[in-house]
Amino acid sequence: MTPVLQARGLVKRYGHVVALDGADFDLMPGEVLAVIGDNGAGKTSLIKALTGALQPDEGQILLDGKPVRIRDPLEARRLGIETVYQELAVAASLDISTNMFLGRELRKPGPLGSIFRMLDKKRMREESAKHMADLKIGLRSLTQPVESLSGGQRQGVAVARAVAWASHVVVMDEPTAALGVKESGQVLDMIKRVRDRGMPVVLISHNMPHVFEIADRIHVQRLGRRVAQIKPGDHSMAEVVAIMTGALQVSEGKSVVTDKDAAEAIGL
């Protein structure tokens, strides 16, 4: 099976700091891949490189097995890579359907649209309602401003927008970081529904229980590169944390203790 999205040997340097040190990445069709790593492990740089927000100094990105150059976030979107950001990236005073279609508005057919550039608000509302219903996000009105919604509902709008436009991958950068427990649960359910529709998801998260709940595979990032790819069922949470911090190393599917004290400290 060809990975949907792949990276080989990505390098990104900021002066003397090496954010990415030959990082690899593989996302398989239809899976939820969690990307985890300690602060400074290069998670964010990796995701930014994959979504066009930064340009790697070296290395290659492949989409459906074909090399691509993602110059900016717009280019990523054109390639069918949609991103959901942690900071609830919606325009607060605008309504739901306007947010869903922001930057990709539909115009009315005929001269009203072509000459007078009039928006087809009705069609955008109808299509937004459909997308929201697909993800089972219940909202009574699509004309209310997004700022009148709860955090979870706002993130729902962002997820629905990403899913509506993504043709390849949905990347979610800490989508639950700004949310409470109940609302996080709603977003996790949404992610499952996205996966069930066959859309692969990259989930960046600090939250181990969330990762173990929904990830099919886990990519562990450490010191600027991928140090392990594991299945949640094969390892305990404590082990995964140990791999993340370097106390454990994974080679050929087996864990090797490299830092005995550290491993004991976390109860392995």
């Binding site: 325009a91 922001l102 990709r104 928006l119 209310q144 700022e147």
Partner: protein, 323 residues
């Protein structure tokens, strides 16, 4: 998921223009009761003539404030545009329409310069336009040699002429101002460009992440605003019949007053350009009504000031409630 139902009454209450409209209506009722000259067609035509220049400037100001910017240079740009139009039309023998076009182009160019400084060098709009205010003010006086330009060809004063609507004389300039407000209400409310302006004012980062080319949009907004200032210059010239280098010196603040009174948030992303029309009319109605009642003009200024503070306080309080 429990969601506030967006019922009609609630939507009216939460529309930021509802308050200003109510204030305008109340003010009209008050002055109609207290002065028998207030409620006449001729008086209303006069009010519109008195507010059309600042109102037109305030259209451009609204666009910029919606992007979370501010423009202190619009009155100065208008004054310079007026001098360019009149000097070229009178002194250089250029056909009057070309002179007008040149004035519009100069105003748009100053808007463009503001936009480029705000985006390319990431300077705060307040500082950029404060600097531009002084630059343009000086240029106006240098270029005009402090001389008022008179004896204008009729093409430059055409907008000051009137036509009759049901016994009331209305200037073509008033009509143009109203049409401009309707045009920008349409552009902001019913086109993708307008939606993007609001998104930009909500959060530049959000707008950028949704694929809006924020720098280009910002430069476009400042340039379009500049062009609108050029139209205000033509309105001013046609109303006064001269090119006056001293014109428009407090119009920058007056245009901000109109925008704020119209319910547009100074924080960007919220408000309506038709609100600005209402805001401009509120100022005009108060000035006119108090004058008819024989109240000294300094009290008109006092009341305008109080209204502005009230309007911003209401905006702040309503924002706090929605958070």
């Amino acid at each position: 998921m429990a969601v506030m139902e967006a019922t009609l009454p609630r939507r009216i209450i939460t529309t930021p223009t509802a308050g200003p409209l109510a204030a305008l209506v109340l003010a009209c009722v008050f002055f109609a009761v207290n002065s028998d000259q207030f409620l006449t067609g001729g008086n209303f035509s006069l009010i519109i003539q008195q507010v059309m220049v600042v109102g037109t400037l305030a259209i451009g100001q609204t666009l910029i404030i919606l992007t979370a910017g501010i423009d202190l240079s619009n009155g100065a740009i208008m004054a310079f545009g007026g001098i360019v139009m009149t000097k070229l039309a009178v002194g250089s023998g250029l056909p009057p329409l070309l002179a007008v076009a040149a004035g519009l182009a100069v105003c748009a160019a100053f808007g463009l310069a503001n936009g480029l400084l705000v985006t390319r060098i990431s300077l705060p709009p307040f500082i950029v336009t404060l600097g531009m205010l002084n630059v343009v003010f000086a240029l106006t006086h240098i270029y005009s040699e402090d001389q008022t330009v008179t004896d204008l060809p009729s093409a430059l004063t055409f907008l000051g002429q009137t036509f009759r609507v049901g016994g009331t004389n209305v200037t073509y300039g008033s009509l143009l101002t109203i049409l401009l407000f309707l045009l920008f209400a349409y552009l902001l409310g019913y086109t993708a460009w307008g939606r993007h302006v609001y998104a930009l004012g909500n959060s530049q980062e959000v707008a950028r992440l949704t694929g809006i080319r924020t720098q280009r949009l910002t430069v476009g907004v400042y340039t379009v605003a500049g062009l609108v200032y050029g139209i205000a210059a033509l309105l001013l010239v046609s109303r006064t019949g001269v090119g006056d280098p001293q014109a428009g010196q407090t119009d920058n603040l007056d245009s901000i007053t109109a925008v704020v009174l119209g319910g547009t948030s100074l924080f960007g992303g919220r408000g309506l350009v038709l609100g600005t029309l209402i805001g401009a009319l509120i100022v005009g109605v108060f000035r006119n009504g108090l004058q008819l009642m024989g109240v000294p003009s300094i009290y008109q200024t006092l009341i305008t000031g109080i209204l502005v503070i009230l309007a911003v306080a209401v905006d702040q309080l309503s924002r706090r409630r929605t958070r």
